[in-house]
């Protein structure tokens, strides 16, 4: 592939989009075989990245604590819900 940005730096969406591109390219059968193997490997890395992002999803609810001037100073667990 012409450019292979670091997958870890990709957002979930970009990784998912690239995974789709990879799959479509593989499915089109236009890529040379050698490249297809590389594409497959990159697809695997992208999938792992996406999956990790999905698995890492967990609720974390915080509330902003403002200082005297009303500026956000810190957060505390949100207990309003």
């Amino acid at each position: 592939m012409a450019s292979t940005p670091d997958i870890a730096a990709l957002s979930f969406e970009d990784a998912l989009k690239e995974l789709e591109v990879v799959v479509r390219r593989l499915e089109s059968g236009e890529a040379p075989l050698d490249e297809s193997i590389d594409l497959y490997a990159r697809g695997e890395a992208l999938r792992t990245h996406c999956q990790a992002r999905l698995d890492a999803a967990q609720a974390r609810i915080e509330a902003v604590v403002a200082d005297r001037e009303g500026r956000p100073a810190a957060t505390r667990p949100f207990d309003g819900a």
Binding site: V23, R47, I61, A73
Partner: protein, 496 residues
Amino acid sequence: MAFPSAPYDDDDFRKDGLLASERAGDNAPALSISEISAQLKRTVEDRFGFVRVRGELSGVKRAASGHLYMALKDEGARLDGVMWRGNAQRLGFLPEDGVEVIATGKLTTYPGRSNYQIVVDRMEIAGEGALLALLAKTKARLEAEGLFDRARKRALPFLPRVIGVVTSPTGAVIRDILHRLSDRFPSHVVVWPVLVQGQGAAAQVAAAVRGFSDLAPGGPVPRPDVVIVARGGGSIEDLWSFNEEEVVRAIAASTIPVISAVGHETDTTLADFAADLRAPTPTAAAELVVPVRAELAAQVHDLQARRGRALARLLAHARERLEVRSQRLPTAQALLSPQSQRLDDLSDRLRRALVHRTEIAAGVLARHGGALRPALLTQRLGRERERLAAQRLRPEALLQRIEHARGRVEALDRLRRSLDPEAPLQRGYVLVTDRDGHVVKDRATAAARVALTLKFADGPLDVTTGQGPVPTVSAAPPRPAARPRGATDSVQPKLL
């Protein structure tokens, strides 16, 4: 305010005079202007210390001091008004010309100008119709500024890492949002608690939106990727804070994409117009802000499966193509067969050529060998013999030639004998030579020699000429200078 009606009906006043004069029974002295003005002021302020008036704003002007000057009017009258800075700042809306308001305050006069006016403590919009009219005007103004332009709208992040929520920390709205988020995609949410209604609500909401927008990444408060500004349903008055210019401007200026979710689906506030996306309800905002995790997982899974199948298919296809081509690939044998065949052909021809050649040679041999018979040779021998026999070898011919030769030999010998230089010696001639045997033919030559040899017929005699010293050799016995005459016969055959 009502003026005293027609005080000039009194006849007394018609008697105009040049000078003012005290009249009988008139014990009231003339009042100074200040006095009457002060009285009037007192009367007005006492009588109208607390009034509520309804009218349309006109000539609204905010002075540099912060005081708000305006006039209230209806079809027939006009009342100037002022709102001191402190109260003006607490106004729940931005006063504008044409807005019908109810102002609460007291009347006062301004003696220096023969004026009276109302000092407004509070001012509210006079009814929903007036509120909507104000809303329309504000909207038109902000719209003209471009705050609601479609081009300003930013795309929401597909999957925000942090979601900011500006809303009341209590109540159903934040619960609904958090619930729906955890259903779809459990996320990191930062709530900025604000008042969403009443005095100061707009300022808090605006401050929260600006606060999120100003957060630096990596600070103590995580910077959201998207901000939801939310409030539950209510009357137009309840939602009014979200129509406030301050809130609208904060949302429009936010560096983070903003979703507005104010009221119910039918409620529209100016905040909705300024936001990057309007959600009909707070719950809907939660749905717009994150995708469904399970769907994404399914999508990833689907892509994974398609990826596997695609490669498998590709490999199968490649294998198939390889196979088709391998089948079409000629075998080594087939590749070599033309040459091999040619080799076979040539070696065959080589063999046959040799055989053929020998056969030809054998033919030639046979053809020629047939002619080679002994008779050929014997025939020739016979012929030669005949020719030999024909040659008669006659001795006469030879003898004749010998005789002829002999005759010639004798004639020549006679000639020889007549030419012998020593023949004259027989007749007494002498041959003079020097000691080296050279013939001395004249006297001059002889005189130059010391010794000479005289050759006689019977032998040589060495002599001295007497011209020089006599050599010792003259004492030696004389050598036979010549053989006897008869000796010549034995030499004769050498001449032949």
